[in-house]
């Protein structure tokens, strides 16, 4: 297993991620149960959307205590690629692997619809197949996707290229600060985003733009393997 898709109680986009990785892209991907303490030979860790622990207490607040999250933290600190989608983004924020937090949508309602995303940082493993300013279309589906961070953090993130995606064309669905849809950590190896690239990876579903993220990650994994072989 090179691509690990975490499974928490209440995850519900795990099967969609596995579908895209295995059936659409032909990758060696499998589920990793939240009670596991080791990531095995995983090269990428994906934290799927859903309602881990029913979103009780606060989205992602309980999942971060699952045994697997300690391993994910260590993996990230060694530079491993970690991506959280929707509830996965919330979990990574709660776990302190990403800055800021996600609060109730401004309209106080769940929202499921397609949005437009502008690529703000095309220099990441997740965005290597994109151009700066490129606009991608993919759906959101969340009740708590309103990104928030204090002014100082936000300024530091903007300077450091940590804002990866912004809602554009007036499609901000949740009142997110600065139209932020996706962010990364300072090192650029951990990313979270509210939109669902796994639901936009095939033309029959209306958009294949999401596939660019997974293809970029695959490139980065290949580059890292090559570097390791050549002894860098």
């Amino acid at each position: 297993m090179k691509w690990a898709v975490l499974q928490f109680p209440g995850s519900n986009c795990d099967q969609d991620l596995i579908h895209v990785l295995r059936s659409v892209m032909g990758k060696d991907a499998a589920y990793l149960w939240h009670k596991e303490r080791s990531l095995g030979d995983a090269e990428v860790v994906l934290v799927p959307g859903g309602f881990s622990y029913g979103d009780y207490l606060r989205c992602g607040a309980i999942a971060r205590f699952s045994p697997v999250m300690k391993a994910v933290g260590e993996f990230a600190s060694r530079g491993g690629f970690v991506m959280g989608i929707c509830n996965g983004f919330q979990i990574l924020c709660e776990a302190g692997l990403l800055p800021g937090c996600l609060i109730r949508n401004r309209e106080l309602r769940f929202v499921c619809r397609e949005v437009a995303l502008r690529v703000e940082n095309a220099g990441l493993p997740f965005t290597g197949r994109m151009k700066p300013g490129q606009v991608l279309r993919m759906p959101v589906a969340h009740g708590e996707g309103n990104y928030f961070a204090d002014a100082e953090t936000l300024a530091r993130m903007e300077r450091g290229g940590q804002v990866v995606f912004r809602y554009c064309d007036g499609t901000n669905p949740n009142g997110s600060l600065g139209d932020i849809a996706g962010v990364c950590n300072e090192r650029g190896n951990v990313m979270g985003l509210m939109p669902h690239p796994e639901r936009a990876a095939e033309p029959i579903l209306g958009s294949a733009d999401g596939r660019l993220i997974f293809e970029g990650l695959a490139d980065a994994v290949r580059a890292r393997r090559a570097a390791r072989l050549s002894g860098d």
């Binding site: 109680p9 209440g10 519900n12 986009c13 099967q15 969609d16 596995i18 579908h19 895209v20 295995r22 059936s23 032909g26 990758k27 060696d28 499998a30 589920y31 959307g49 859903g50 309602f51 622990y53 029913g54 979103d55 009780y56 309602r109 769940f110 929202v111 499921c112 619809r113 397609e114 759906p139 589906a141 009740g143 669902h196 796994e198 639901r199 990876a201 095939e202 029959i204 579903l205 209306g206």
Partner: protein
Amino acid sequence: MGKIPDDARVTPELVASHGLTPEEYRLILDILGREPTITELGIFSVMWSEHCSYKSSRPELKKFPTDGPSVMVRAGEENAGVIDIGDGWAVSFKIESHNHPSAVEPFQGAATGVGGILRDIFTMGARPVLLADSLRFGDIRGKSRKAAENRRLLKGVVGGIAHYGNCIGVPTVAGEIAFDDSYSGNPLVNVFCLGILRHDQIRLGKATGEGNPVFYVGAKTGRDGLAGAAFASRDLTEESKEDRPAVQVGDPFREKLLLEACLELFEHAESIVGVQDMGAAGLTCSTCETASRGHSGIEIDLDLVPQREEAMTAYELMLSESQERMLIIARRGHEETVRRIFAKWDLDAVEIGRVTGDGLMRVRHLGRVVAEIPARRLAEEAPVYHRPARAPVGGAERYDYLKFPEPKDLEGALLKMLEAPTVASKRWVYDQYDHMVRAGTVVLPGSDAAVVRVPTDPPGDLPPVGGRSFKYLAVTTDCNGAHCALDPHEGGKLAVAEAARNLACSGARPIGVTDNLNFGNPQRPEIFWQLRRAVEGMAEGCRAFGVPVTGGNVSLYNESPAGAVDPTPVVGMVGIIDDPAHITTQCFKAAGDAVILLGGAGGGLGGSLYAMEILGRRLGPCPGVDLAFERATHEGLLEIIRRGWVRSAHDCSEGGLGVALAECCISGPGAPVGAQIDLAFAEAPLGRRDEVLFNEASGRIVASVPEGHLREALSLLMGRGVPACRIGRTGGDVLKIGFSGGRLSWSVARLRDAWAGALGRVLRG
């Protein structure tokens, strides 16, 4: 009803307060050969409630066609029917109502309706892959208290459906919502679920094999939902609010765990004998029904049941409708498999009893036997009532619409129709539902039917690397209550025809029907007549289209102090699309296509939404339907779709041709596409322009075809006896409709604004 101690004596007052008649009580004495205990009285009262026993509707339901070459599990045999879809795969689907709970507590009432129907489906061994909802409310417009209350109910119900469906990760992809004041105070909340399974995954609700262990799995039992089935079998009154404890509280997270644990356990076929969800009448229904189906007995000890409240009586434990619980009959020697899998999902799995050979449902509590009832007689021998039926005196009201002058401003009339909540875009609603999770929704909500692809993988934990094979399913729910109120027989046929038409417009052929019969108090002969006539009409419709009814639900006593709801026999229909290239949606795709009308100009304004909205009253008669002609039209449309000649197809329903044309222009995801239409041909036979635009005659479809295929498409249709003609061409940013005396014209941006924003504007108000 206050708390009843377990050693209470059964008095005539208690019998009456349990909704049992003296005759029913005599039958109980006969079955038991002695007086019942209070626990037994409670058990009989819920099992023999209308909700569980179908005692009024059962003779009518026998009129439905339930057989067909693809039927694998028939209606009534199990929690839900199963239909073969080929290649070793099958679908299980069903619709169920949660009307009464939603009237009293809309959020939880609707949420637990979703939870209940999901359990019905995964109990069959199927993985739920989509949900749909058919909802009815009173008018939500205006400043009246009644309208405000209807808005509150709508918001609560939508919020509850979203809460449950979104969390469990099953997309809510289809449905309809209609508004009429007959539903004020008694909204209808009908929830549909479909699951997929391999043929070898079908699980049945049977307790067989003497000595096999009976497991209780899932959430703990509390006092919520006590005797909800009996509650659902009464009229709603001002005092119904006091029945709030009869409304259950749902926990979709717990249900998600239960779903995954059950499906994981079901892969161990050798460990499982039978499965039954605890829905209406909870432990009572699940134990006696599994024993009855297995021709066996069952014995349980209530002291072992996981409980979350203290000092619960046997009566309360047996009648609780706490959610997210299942009964599993395992094979002796395989107990560890059950315990291990449920422990993985952090759920209780407790052996509470065993299968016996004596045919009795025996319940122990605190060391005593508190109930001992022949299971089969309890489950199968509920009294059946042949209720008197009587047509209302004088029949449906008939008006000559010509007595109502045609409005001068027909352009304004169309805009007003598009703003009517029944017609307006439901995006405000379905935006709140996750309708894309499972990455399979190919046609999103807002077209005639939703289309979902479902994977058909070989057995295994992971899908194959590389190409995956799919089947494409289309789903719709339909019923026009106004039509049924005017003529339940034609209305029943029309509901089936409209559902089939919606599927045809999506490129699908129908494979099965599930029905939800929503009516008033069946003890009133006029109401029972509506039920009977509607069922007969639906049965005729199903026969005409060759589709079996695979199960459904009956909801009676839908009455508020103001009277009964319009008869609303909702049809949920499932279709299959043989090739994804045939998937068709309702919106015009590009400029320059020919617009054609199948099925002719129609006529009459009876039963029309236009009469209600613009002329200000409900007019009869109900439009009629010729089922053979309707079927020929659908098959003709499907044939030109299969040949690749169709860009869009949309059925004419509420609001007739005028609304259908507007929706073709404005309901697509991109910029609206205008059209130039000429309807002068229809004026001479019909007479009035409003009749041409807004009549709701059935069997009519607006399609767009590339000009290059126009001639062959029309000749194919005419060759099959389907009236079809070119009525215009797509393009531009205006919808123009020409008549002999001039033409009507609307900017498509204006039409879209009226239609897309109407619901949000009303609900913010």
